[in-house]
């Protein structure tokens, strides 16, 4: 059974008299353990699609089945529970709570979990998640004390801590330099290899190349949906990058 099944999904925004069709009739199916890049220019409807996939917004028409459950039939509380348990978000601007340590940021989803997770379990799972993203040493740092890449790692740890089935990333490398971007993509690769489904919005082609499948949108419609033939592997790219740097230094 697919994790995500969209049929004729539509989203229309009303701003005063004008109606804007951000997403028109998208039909898409994503299976478990896929690694999908959603591409498109700004205004193509990819962010609106992501918001609906993340249960932050409801479609105006069509159906969205998440794990076979129709999202349209859920109320606010059930949607919140769904985001908490099944979904993990990673944003372009990290969206960490400031003046709150990395550890507490990662604990945040657990504190809203039903049934209640004990304080000790929260800590244990948050530390594990931070170790998984390579930040075991910096759990008590505040976001302002961390680099952009480290902040995005904290955000990924937060997305992972509740063992979601699906991680949704909205331009996760948009604010990062090339090398850090590749590192973050490497992290996504590892997660995907561990069986987590990842859907990522990006407008950078070389970032999309790390994914297994590319969905291209234009004017609210899916205009391309192809598996990546020449997929880039972050580990190799990183090694090449380091070698190039050393060569440059020697020369």
């Amino acid at each position: 059974m697919p994790v995500i099944e969209l049929r004729d999904l539509e989203k229309t925004y009303k701003t005063g008299e004008v109606e804007v069709k951000a997403v028109r009739s998208v039909t898409l199916s994503i299976d478990s353990s896929e690694f999908v890049a959603v591409m498109g220019a700004s205004g193509s409807g990819k962010s609106s699609l992501m918001n609906m996939l993340g249960c932050l917004d409801q479609p105006t028409a069509g159906s969205y089945l998440l794990n076979g459950v129709s999202v349209a039939d859920l109320n606010r509380e059930e949607l919140a529970d769904l985001r908490n348990k099944k979904l993990g978000f990673v944003f372009q601007s990290f969206n960490l709570l400031s003046r709150t340590s990395a550890l507490e940021n990662v604990e945040l989803p657990l504190s809203y979990a039903h049934p209640v997770v004990s304080l000790r379990d929260r800590r244990k799972r948050a530390v594990e998640a931070l170790e998984k993203v390579g930040l075991g040493e910096r759990i008590h740092h505040y976001p302002s004390q961390l680099s952009g890449g480290q902040q995005q790692r904290v955000a990924i740890a937060r997305a992972l801590v509740n063992n979601p089935e699906l991680v949704l990333a909205d331009e996760p490398t948009g604010n990062l330099d090339t090398r850090t971007s590749i590192e973050i993509m490497g992290l996504f690769e590892e997660l995907n290899e561990a069986g987590i489904t990842i859907i990522m919005v990006t407008h950078e082609l070389d970032i999309a190349d790390y994914c297994k499948r590319s969905v291209v949108m234009r004017d609210g419609l899916v205009v391309g949906d192809t598996p990546n033939e020449n997929r880039r592997i972050a580990r190799q790219e990183l090694a090449a990058l380091i070698m190039n740097e050393q060569r440059a230094r020697l020369a």
Binding site: N51, G54, L56, D57, R76, E77, A80, D81, L82, R83, N84, K85, F89, F91, N95, L96, L97, R99, L108, P109, S111, Y112, A113, P115, V116, S118, L119, R158, N162
Partner: protein
């Protein structure tokens, strides 16, 4: 059973962690939080202090009134006039000793009467002189006024019969004439007539209207009429009635008795006036009660203003933390979690404000007591009320901002700069 315990435990864990989040947010904005709480502090403190001051004033007034004597009817002679000049109450020659005797004889519920004829005179003693009120009274006068000699004794019926030249002296007059010396047994001249001081009155303090009750000399009314004033008539008769609820009927009886004795026909006005001590007392008491209520109401309004301050700050806080709210919603916070977080912030502000306000109010009451010279009475009722209202205000004024926060659109909230 276990399941229920688990649910209760889960509820407490959530409530506690939400409270911690709320408290941390308050701590981060120390200045803002304390200024917001200040509104409630002032409100609660003023309710507590104002009501305490009002109660204190009421108690003081009540004790002053009871010092005037309970259940007293004051019968004054009417005012006299010659040509266009009107003299004050008691100046008319209408009340006689026979009237007093008739009241004693015929008014039911009468306990005792004191006939009164007073004048102002220069008195000389111990080489000093002093102008004071000389009151001719009956021996019952002190009892009626609930007054006692501090040393010596009151004159008796015998002194009254023989118009004895004996005097009982008020403490203020005594200190003016004799300083610290005990005046009892000393001589005193009133309008050059020698009197022996047989008693010194205990201090009664200022009466209603600020008149010093201790500045007086009391002599038998017979002596006053015969030797000092030459009056044939009384200025007033104090009538003590046995029970408070008989006051009105006694007043009616005295009125008809005196009208009959003075041969007043149906259309004529009374040539005397009767003041009902209880009526005066009731009026004063109800006025002071109204003042207490007004003070409380004004203070209550400041409490309300404090509540609006909380709402204002909470709305600012929600707007400021839109992004934080968006993050919390995105990671799965229920609307209820967000609402509870902001509600706890508001309630904490008003609750702590209320707590400090009560303490400040109690201290302020003490201060008012010291400054105004009377004991402010802090009532438990006003504390409970002010505290309860302030907490309720926190919930009431905190609810709207909290609800607004819980209803934020997560997408817009996350995009908020």
């Amino acid at each position: 059973m276990m399941a229920i315990l688990k649910v209760i435990n889960a509820f407490f864990v959530r409530a506690l962690q939400t409270a911690l989040i709320a408290l941390r947010a308050l701590r981060r904005n120390k200045l803002r939080s304390s200024l917001t709480a200040l509104g409630i502090i002032i409100g609660v403190a003023s309710v507590v202090a104002m009501v305490a001051a009002g109660n204190g004033a009421q108690a003081k007034i009540a004790s002053r009134i009871s010092a005037l004597g309970q259940n007293l009817l004051l019968v004054f002679a009417g005012s006299s006039h010659s040509g266009g000049v009107y003299s004050g109450l008691g100046s008319a020659s209408s009340l006689t000793l026979a009237d007093a005797a008739a009241i004693r004889r015929e008014v039911a519920d009468m306990v005792s009467t004191s006939s009164e004829d007073s004048t102002t005179a220069q008195v000389i003693a111990n080489g000093r002189n002093w102008s004071t009120t000389v009151m001719g009274e009956s021996p019952d006068y002190l009892r009626i006024r609930d007054w006692k000699p501090a040393s010596g004794y009151m004159f008796t019926k015998r002194d009254l019969m023989r118009a004895g030249k004996v005097a009982v002296i008020g403490s203020k007059t005594a200190s003016e004439l004799f300083g610290p010396l005990d005046p009892v047994g000393q001589n005193l001249r009133i309008k050059n007539i020698p009197f022996v001081i047989i008693g010194l009155l205990e201090s009664k303090g200022a009466g209603m209207g600020g008149k010093n009750q201790d500045d007086c000399i009391i002599i038998p009314y017979t002596t006053a009429m015969k030797r000092l004033t030459g009056d044939k008539y009384l200025r007033s008769i104090n009538v003590e009635i046995s029970r408070a609820d008989c006051m009105e009927s006694a007043q009616g009886q005295i009125t008809s008795l005196l009208r009959q004795r003075h041969h007043l026909s149906a259309g004529q006005e009374n040539d005397f006036n009767i003041f009902n001590q209880k009526e005066i007392a009731d009026t004063v008491k109800s006025v002071s009660k109204i003042i207490t209520l007004l003070l409380g109401a004004v203070a209550g309004i400041s409490l309300l203003v404090g509540g609006i301050g909380i709402m204002n700050i909470m709305l600012v806080s929600v707007t400021e933390r839109t992004r934080e709210i968006g993050i919390r919603i995105a990671v799965g916070a229920q609307p209820g979690d967000i609402r509870l977080q902001f509600l706890i912030e508001a309630v904490t502000l008003s609750f702590l404000g209320g707590l400090i306000g009560v303490l400040a109010g109690v201290s302020a009451s003490k201060l008012v007591g010291v400054l105004a010279g009377f004991e402010a009475v802090v009532s438990t009722g006003s504390i409970v009320l002010a505290f309860g209202v302030s907490s309720a205000i926190g919930i009431f004024f905190g609810f709207y901002p909290a609800h607004k926060a819980s209803r934020l659109n997560p997408i817009e909230a996350l995009r908020y700069e």
